[in-house]
């Protein structure tokens, strides 16, 4: 800030808002994001003014809500501010602002880190390093200064040989292609062609303007010092490197460029939708597709253009379309020659303003008119021509207009009455139509009524029929009913019969009731008997129960009680159960007690017995007793029994034994006795048990007695109940019997009364039904009579209506007939078509009026146009250079097609003038290396590549890169990226893009117009793989590509010839002494003969009137080898006189892009060296170029055996075999005189 002489506030208030480009710095984990703000030094005018154009860079740390400026620096004015890695924003610096807008922060967060993007590109572009390495190989050479002794010029001053140079060995070796400057002369004189250290000479190819100087002998310098410099080559490599750098720094006009170039599937954007284009040139379908595609593409379009397929036409059309769309186009190519060729063939059209940019001395004739100083003139010439053509045309036009005017008037006059007539006819027809439609509508209405009436008629008829039928059926029904009534008895008789039956029924019913009552009495009596029996039973039971109670009260033992319980079926209540269990328990304990007592007795007896036995032996019995008392053992009853048994056995079996051995048994007895005692001790004394048992027995008895008492009460109640029932029943029986007796008295009983009753009731029912039927029929007859009357009335009405409708219908039909008759004459009018005629006439009239109007306009404008243009022409004609100054400036300002070479497009002044192009078209792409292509590509928003990967790739000198690489590898010179380069060479950038792009972004122009179809056949295989192959666009090859020559070797019908050189020593190739280039003297000789023959043939063609007198056949003599070309040059210049031919010579490589009527190809290679092959001629692309230069006639001169048999690689052999076959098929094989054809 201090440097700028501004304080913070005044800096930030320089602009309302600053245009700033933000660059994001690499992030580290532990620190905040940091970024740099680059202040645009173009958009921010006031700032720029203040700080003299420097770029201000503010380095910031980005915090959550603010930026903290850490540092402010300035950079040079030319520093790039806008790059693809930076994001443009407009920033206002407001001290009052609270925080930085979120949008800005997220923009910074999401944007890429500039260094990372650069690194990415750097990594990818490293693959291209190899190209530069090759070019740099010899580039790093310091200027070489040497004295010289003299300069000698060649015949036409195109070359100078500098003699007497003094240099060291290394310097001599590095001279090739260096630029040459002679001290004391302005500018470079040319380029080193050849250095000869032995002779101390250097041969230099002179620049054009130096040739002039040489002729004037203005080459003398006092110092005689020459400087060889590699500046041009070095600066070229520098520019290529700079291209890499620009891509790395994100300076490509198309931000996707690096991805398009490097990714396997180039991420091209889908093309725009375009309205169909109006083409200025006549284009074939492929060309149309290419132009449309190129216009529609958003970033990249690739056009493959095989030889003669009209690439330039396509480029020209694209330039024109771009110009019309207001776009600026750069046309770039690898060489100046190609740029000038392309520009030279662009159409002269006022919408296209072509400007050729580059060093004037290196621009070819075709491009010269487009350089800045000449465009004024070019514009003048072009405008003058256009205006004069129009002016001349309009001169004739005046009379024409008059003529046309008269004719037009006459036609209008003729047309007028016809038109009127037609109008009347149309009017009449319209009226007729109106009347017709009126009548028609009446008819329609009437017909509708008819239809209605008919319908009504039908319904009425239906009605009548229905009524008739009804009346008829009613009549029948009435008759039938009357018969019935007549036959049936009258209703009174039935009534009487019925009443009689009713009386009988009454009697019957009484009898039945009597019977029923008697039955009831019987039943009652029976049930009374039952009740009596029951009563007796209950009394019995009561007696029994009393007995049981007494028995229970007197029971002494439990068994007795149990018996009573069973007997009396006494319920074993909870309490009874409990008491009985207790008695059982006591009984068990008392049993155990008696058992223990029994054991005690037994044991005591045994003890006393044993003691008695032992007593004489004075055994210590007390000790045994004590021990037994101390033991705590338990025994079961079985065990005690067993023990006692054992003892008994022992006593029995040992009457005489020593009783002392009984001592242990005594111990056992004691112990068992103690055990029994212990056990007995735990039981209560026997009397206690007895008392308890007695008590419980008393409880039990009471319980049972209580129960029995309860039962007794119950039985007594039911007995009383039975007695009561019995009495009631007896009473009921008495009353029933009384009733019955009464009934019997009132009527005698009838047997079978029930049956008879049923019969009688059925009879009554029948009679009732009959009565009913009779009534119904009578009723029906009444109803039917009424109905009949009504129907008859209806029938009469309907019949009347029917008559009316019929009359009505007849009336309607009549009207319709009349109306239809009225239509007949109208139909005639309507069938005519006056409108068509009228319309036709109207159209004619309109077109005549239009013509009249435009003629009127033209007539009016014509004098003005003529006078203005006349003046304009005179002004243009006398315009001097000065008068065109303004035009020249305007032209340059509005130039919309700029042409330059790839490398020149990276020159600083060019970049300054034209930083960006809307479209960049690169021609002959396959001939440029990727680094060269990158330079113009950097400048284009859209890039269109035109090339053909089946023609020659980039060349270094005369070698392809492969050949150079091979040579380098041979010299074991190694460098980084050699492997990558080898890979790249396998498939060129153009080829890769062409193959990987979607169909919408590429086209192959598949129709060629250059070659006779016979010549095309030779190269057809090279394009077989492409979708459409290569087709010939010439409608009649023989007529369009007639070379008009007739000679010994060449007939009119020949277009493809091969002059076979024998594979014999006399015809072998030779090598230059001390050089590596090859030549073939035999072929030279034969070509000389051939050329003479053709010159002669051309002369004859002129004589025969086939060719014009001043015409010359254009012949190209080309070869795979430079040395051969040199020798051909010399031969043609020195030894031949060919006034009827225009000859151009060159290597095949130099000829790429050119075309001639006739091409002679000297193939040179011919030897029998097993270790050698065919060198340059191996490359199919070189062969393709060689074969595709001729329009009318191609003659190969070389050994068929060498190329079709002796060639080492199979592919190469079959490639030449195909050519040979094509030649044979066209009868084009020629042999030298006296030589047998090979094969």
């Amino acid at each position: 800030m201090r440097e700028l002489g501004l304080d913070e506030r005044s800096f930030f208030s320089l602009e309302e808002s600053f245009k700033v480009y933000i660059e994001k710095y690499p992030q580290t984990a532990d620190r905040l994001i940091s970024a740099a703000l680059f202040f645009d030094n173009e958009a921010n005018r006031r700032m720029t003014e203040k700080n003299k154009g420097l770029v201000v860079v503010m380095h910031c740390v980005v915090e959550k809500n603010r930026f903290i400026a850490t540092n402010i620096t300035t950079r040079a004015a030319h520093t790039a501010v806008q790059t693809n890695w930076r994001r443009p924003v407009f920033l206002t610096f407001d001290q009052k602002a609270q925080s930085v807008p979120i949008g800005l922060l997220s923009l910074i967060h999401e944007m890429p880190v500039a260094q990372e993007s650069s690194a990415y590109v750097k990594k990818r572009i490293a693959g291209w390093e190899g190209y530069l390495t090759i070019q740099e190989r010899d580039a790093d050479i310091a200027d070489i200064l040497t004295r010289y002794s003299g300069l000698t010029f060649n015949g036409d001053f195109s070359r100078v040989t500098i003699t007497g140079c003094q240099m060291n060995e290394k310097e001599w070796k590095s001279l090739k292609d260096l630029s040459v400057k002679i001290k004391g002369l302005d500018g470079d004189i040319g380029k080193v062609l050849k250095a000869n250290p032995a002779a101390r000479t250097v041969e230099v190819e002179l620049h054009g303007h130096m040739i002039e100087r040489a002729r004037q002998q203005r080459f003398h310098a006092s110092q005689k010092e020459v400087v060889f410099s590699n500046f041009a080559a070095l600066s070229q490599v520098k520019r290529l490197r700079q291209g890499f750098k620009h891509l790395e720094n994100g300076l490509a006009a198309n931000p996707d460029l690096e991805r398009i170039l490097f990714e396997k599937k180039p991420p091209v954007r889908p093309p725009k939708k375009l309205a169909p284009l109006a083409f200025h040139n006549r284009l074939n379908d492929f060309q149309k597709k290419a132009v449309t595609g190129a216009m529609a593409a958003e970033d990249l379009y690739v056009i493959q253009g095989p030889p003669g397929t009209g690439k330039t036409t396509v480029i020209s059309e694209i330039c024109l379309q771009n110009a019309r769309a207001g776009l600026r186009t750069l046309v770039a190519s690898q060489s100046n020659l190609a740029v000038d060729n392309a520009l030279g063939r662009l159409l002269a059209n006022k919408d296209i303003r072509i400007l050729r940019v580059g060093r004037t001395e290196s621009i070819e004739e075709e491009g010269k008119k487009f350089i800045e100083e000449n465009v004024g003139q070019y514009w003048k010439d072009h405008t003058l021509q256009e205006v004069s053509v129009q002016f001349e045309a309009r001169k004739k036009r005046e009379a024409e207009i008059e003529e046309q005017w008269t004719a037009n008037e006459k036609e209008i006059e003729q047309l007028q009455p016809m038109l009127q007539k037609a109008e009347t006819a149309v009017e009449t027809k319209k009226k007729a139509e109106k009347v017709y439609s009126d009548i028609q509508s009446v008819i329609d209405k009437q017909e509708k009524e008819v239809r209605q009436a008919e319908q009504e008629l039908q319904t009425t008829q239906q009605h009548v029929r229905e009524n008739e039928r009804a009346v008829h059926s009613l009549h029948a029904s009435i008759e039938q009913d009357e018969v019935f009534l007549h036959e049936e008895p009258a209703s009174g008789a039935i009534q009487k019969e019925q009443e009689a039956i009713e009386q009988t029924i009454q009697r019957l019913k009484h009898a039945i009731a009597c019977d029923d009552l008697k039955n009831e009495v019987d039943q009652k009596r029976e049930s009374l008997d039952q009740v009596k029996a029951q009563c007796e039973q209950l009394a019995e039971a009561l007696k029994k129960a009393d007995a049981a109670a007494q028995k229970a009260a007197s029971a002494k033992r439990i068994g007795g009680l149990k018996w009573i319980m069973l007997e009396q079926n006494i319920e074993r209540s909870l309490r009874i159960g409990h008491l009985m269990d207790e008695i059982d328990d006591i009984r068990t304990e008392m049993n155990q007690f008696s058992k223990l007592k029994a054991y005690n007795d037994q044991l005591s007896r045994a003890i006393s017995y044993v003691e008695k036995l032992l007593a004489p032996h004075r055994m210590p019995v007390d000790g045994l007793k004590q021990r037994a008392a101390g033991m705590t053992v338990s025994y079961t009853s079985d065990e005690i029994d067993r023990f006692l048994n054992e003892l008994r056995e022992v006593i029995k079996g040992s009457q005489n034994a020593d009783p002392r051995m009984m001592a242990p048994y005594l111990g056992g007895l004691y112990s068992r006795k103690y055990f029994v005692w212990k056990k007995a001790k735990r039981l209560k004394p026997y009397d206690v048990y007895k008392n308890i048992a007695r008590e419980i027995f008393q409880f039990l008895k009471q319980e049972i007695l209580a129960q029995l008492e309860q039962k007794h009460l119950e039985n007594e109640t039911s007995y009383k109940q039975s007695l009561r029932t019995m009495k009631e029943q007896e009473t009921a029986l008495h009353s029933l019997q009384n009733k019955h007796n009464q009934m019997i008295a009132s009527g005698e009983p009838i047997p079978n009364a029930k049956e008879i009753l049923q019969q009688n009731e059925a009879k009554v029912l029948q009679l009732q039904k009959k009565q009913e039927l009779y009534k119904q029929v009578a009723q029906r007859v009444e109803t039917n009579r009424n109905e009949q009357l009504k129907r008859t009335e209806q029938l009469r009405t309907a019949e009347q209506k029917l008559g009316q409708i019929e009359v009505n219908l007849a009336g309607l039909q009549n009207t319709i007939c009349q109306k239809k008759a009225e239509l007949v004459p109208l139909n005639e009018i309507l069938s005519t078509q006056p409108e068509r005629e009228h319309e036709k006439l109207l159209k004619e009239m309109a077109s005549l009026s239009f013509t009249r109007e435009s003629l009127k306009q033209e007539k009016k404008k014509l004098p003005l146009f003529q006078s203005v243009q006349e003046k304009w022409l005179s002004l243009l004609e006398e315009a001097s250079e000065h008068d065109l100054d303004e035009i020249r400036k305007l032209y340059v300002k509005h130039a919309n097609v700029i042409g330059t070479t790839c490398v020149a497009s990276a020159r600083k002044d060019f970049i300054d003038h034209y930083p960006v192009f809307d479209v960049v078209i690169i021609d002959e792409v396959s001939k440029a290396t990727p680094p060269e292509l990158l330079l113009p590509m950097l400048k284009g928003k859209k890039i269109i590549l035109v090339g053909d990967h089946h023609q020659l790739p980039p060349l270094l000198g005369n070698d392809t890169l492969e050949e150079t690489l091979q040579e380098m590898t041979g010299g074991s010179q190694d460098f980084d990226g050699k492997a990558e380069l080898k890979n790249l060479l396998k498939e060129s950038l153009f080829e890769r893009l062409f193959k990987s792009l979607p169909d919408s972004n590429k086209t192959m122009l598949a129709i060629q117009y250059r070659m006779h179809e016979g010549i095309m056949e030779a190269i057809a295989p090279f394009y077989e793989q492409e979708t459409d192959g290569l087709q010939c666009g010439l409608l009649d090859s023989d007529a369009d590509r007639d070379h008009l020559l007739e000679s010994k070797t060449v007939q009119r019908g020949n277009h493809l010839l091969w002059l076979d050189m024998p594979n014999e020593p006399d015809f072998y190739e030779e090598r230059m002494k001390g050089g590596k280039s090859l030549y073939n003297p035999a072929e030279l000789r034969e070509i000389g003969v051939l050329l003479k023959e053709m010159n002669e043939a051309a002369a004859q063609a002129k004589q025969a009137g086939r060719m014009k007198d001043n015409e010359r056949k254009s012949v190209g003599v080309i070869s795979f080898y430079g040395e051969q070309v040199k020798k051909l040059d010399r031969l043609i210049q020195q030894e031949l006189q060919l006034p009827h031919l225009t000859i151009r010579t060159g290597t095949v490589d130099r000829f790429q892009g050119m075309e001639m009527d006739v091409i002679l190809l000297s193939m040179v290679r011919n030897h029998n060296n097993k270790h050698d092959d065919i060198g340059f001629a191996k490359d199919y692309r070189r062969l393709n170029v060689a074969l595709s230069r001729a329009r009318e006639l191609l003659v190969l001169v070389g050994s068929t055996k060498m190329f079709t048999e002796r060639t080492k690689q199979n592919d190469t052999r079959s490639m030449y075999r195909h050519v040979w076959n094509a030649v044979e098929k066209q009868n084009g094989l020629r042999t030298l005189e006296g030589v047998q054809p090979h094969g």
Binding site: G150, T152, T161, Q217, L864, S867, L875
Partner: protein
Amino acid sequence: MDKLEKRLRAGLLENAAVEIRHAAVWQLPVIGYDATFKRVKRLKMDILMKMLLLTFQQADIRRAASLSEMLLVEELFVADLIQKMQRTGLIRLEKEGYRLTAKGYEHLKRGIFEEEMKEEETELFYSPAHDAFWTEKVRGTEKERPLYRYARDRSADADQMLRALAEREEGVLRDGFQTVVAEITNFNEQLTEHVLCLEFQLYNKEQDLFYARVWNTALNRWDETLEQQIEEQERLEWRVEAEKLLSD
């Protein structure tokens, strides 16, 4: 003369491989003309601007496109110029179209105005062999020498003369004024001058090349037109002769 020849020979022989097979001196006829012509002095003025001003006087024009159609000039140029002229106050847009302002009239008047200059006389030289005018004064030789063997008999036309003269007289700009050759009022053929030429037939034995060198004393340079004419006619013969000589 001898000195010149010596110097040229020395120069040619600097190349050791070259031998001079034959040398000759002859004269090239050049026709002199006396011409009177007129020049005019006029203000340097862009022709398109002049044309626009003239057209605005003559017709009602509102749109650049109509002018573009009439003059067959890019609309952009016309629009640009119209803008410029409006800005500098030469024209203004009125109801019917553009009209010249007083300043515009003045400017056009000056641009059209041509100050006719006094008739001038000059000498011109035409070489039929070259079919070209030489505007420099040619000094013929006095001595009789053989004529150039391929001299052609043709004369110049006035148009060619005017172009040559205009090119020669293409005036420098002075205070925005230029002088332009407007017409040749009269011209008369004068004496034919004879320009001395030195011819060398050379052979480069290293490369087996025959070629010719002709020094034109009027132009003071090796003259490729003449060299080519000679080579075209004679080069084959030289070789035949040389081979004959060799075989003899």
